[in-house]
Amino acid sequence: MDDSDPWLTQVKRGIIEMAILNVLAGEAMHGYRLVRMLAEVPGLVVTEGTIYPLLSRLLSEGMVIAELEASAQGPARKVYALSPQGRRRRTAMAAAWKRIVAAIDRLSATPGDRT
């Protein structure tokens, strides 16, 4: 399927949001490192720049918090971490994801496989 397919774009958007929360649940990190981690997952991120508007939205919704950290190489850089609200959201997302995948698997199974 083409990366520009509207359905895939919509699905990916939700998945990337969940992926951001999952990565930040493990540890706080700089935007660049977070973006690179997501970009290394095959087929997940088309262009790295699209992560920043998502991060911005998660920040404004209070799911993610950011702190400035001084850098020896240049200007201070933002370190992103999950907020308590973001942790709750991640847990809810993970549960919903499991339910959706299970439901789709059931529907996708051939009639003979259904129990």
Partner: protein, 302 residues
């Protein structure tokens, strides 16, 4: 301390951030996202081997970040984000800039012709249409719409050339003027359709390069040009009707029309420059400054 960039790399970075700023216009956290992009570029540079940051390295970083309009789509409504990219658009901005340069030359020849009464339609307009059709016909393969517009330009040229003998004959036999009138109207309509659609296609190319201000300028200019041309044609028609009421001799009628046409030339030239040449020049500059596929763009600039 921030790493030094080569002048070309610094230009590319600055240009990208400016385009991102334009693409994110209206976003509530535009400044925050731009800061994140600056940080991203600085962090990506830290991952590079020591030394000055070159154009190819910067182009690679920017290519990975992707076009700024993708970011804008990401922050807009889901429907907008899901809109597929039309398959007819060019992706190579350097080739698009060359195409716009050729279109500008074609229109320039037509606009210059406005200085020379009578000759303008038969020589300059014909030359302009030949250049236009040739530029549109040789557009890169993916621009299917532009190529079909080339056929339209050839038809307009045919009508334009037909007007010349018809005009000569109608001087001797005014009844032939009745035949040349529909041909003249068809030519004018085709000219407007061509200008309208060519500007639409160029604005799509410019939009692909995320130059939204230039795209809007082109769309405004084509509407203004359409209105101005219709208004001027209407004015010319009214003048013709008024002249006919005075029951002048044929030679006097021709002289009067020529004088009025001469008086209208500066206005026509001004409109040509303001509404056609200037917006196309801006579009070309925007396309020249837009990054294309990473190393390809780097090679083109080098």
């Amino acid at each position: 301390m921030s790493r030094t960039r080569s002048p070309e790399a610094a230009h590319l970075e600055r240009d990208y951030l400016e385009r991102a700023e334009r693409a994110l216009a209206g976003h509530g956290d535009r400044a925050g996202i731009l800061d994140s992009l600056r940080e991203h570029i600085a962090a990506a540079i830290d991952d590079l081997p020591p030394g000055e940051v070159g154009l190819v390295q910067m182009a690679t970083i920017i290519e990975r970040l992707g076009p700024p309009d993708r970011m804008a789509e990401e922050s807009s409504s889901p429907a907008a984000a899901a809109a597929p990219v039309p398959p007819t658009r060019l992706t190579d901005h350097v080739a698009a800039a060359r195409l716009v340069q050729r279109l500008r030359t074609a229109f320039l020849v037509g606009v210059i012709g406005l200085f020379v009464p009578v000759v303008d339609l038969y020589l300059c307009e014909s030359a302009s249409l030949i250049l236009l059709a040739s530029a549109l016909g040789s557009a890169p393969v993916r621009s299917g719409n532009l190529r079909s517009l080339a056929r339209l330009a050839w038809i307009a040229l045919g009508l334009c050339l037909a007007l010349f003998p018809l005009g000569l004959v109608s001087l001797a036999a005014p009844a032939f003027g009745l035949i040349s009138l529909p041909v003249s109207i068809a030519h004018t309509v085709l000219h407007l359709v061509l200008c309208w659609t060519v500007f639409g296609e160029v604005s799509a190319l410019v939009e692909d390069a995320s130059a939204l201000a230039e795209r809007d300028a082109l769309l405004r200019a084509r509407t203004a040009y359409l209105i101005a041309t219709i208004a001027l044609s209407g004015l010319a028609l009214m003048i013709g009707v008024v002249i006919s009421l005075f029951r002048l001799q044929r030679v006097e009628q021709l002289m009067t029309v020529a004088v009025i046409q001469l008086l209208m030339l500066p206005l026509a030239w001004l409109l040509g420059w303001w509404l056609i040449l200037n917006p196309l020049a801006k579009a070309q500059r925007a396309l020249t400054g837009a990054p294309t596929g990473g190393a390809q763009r780097a090679a083109a600039m080098a």
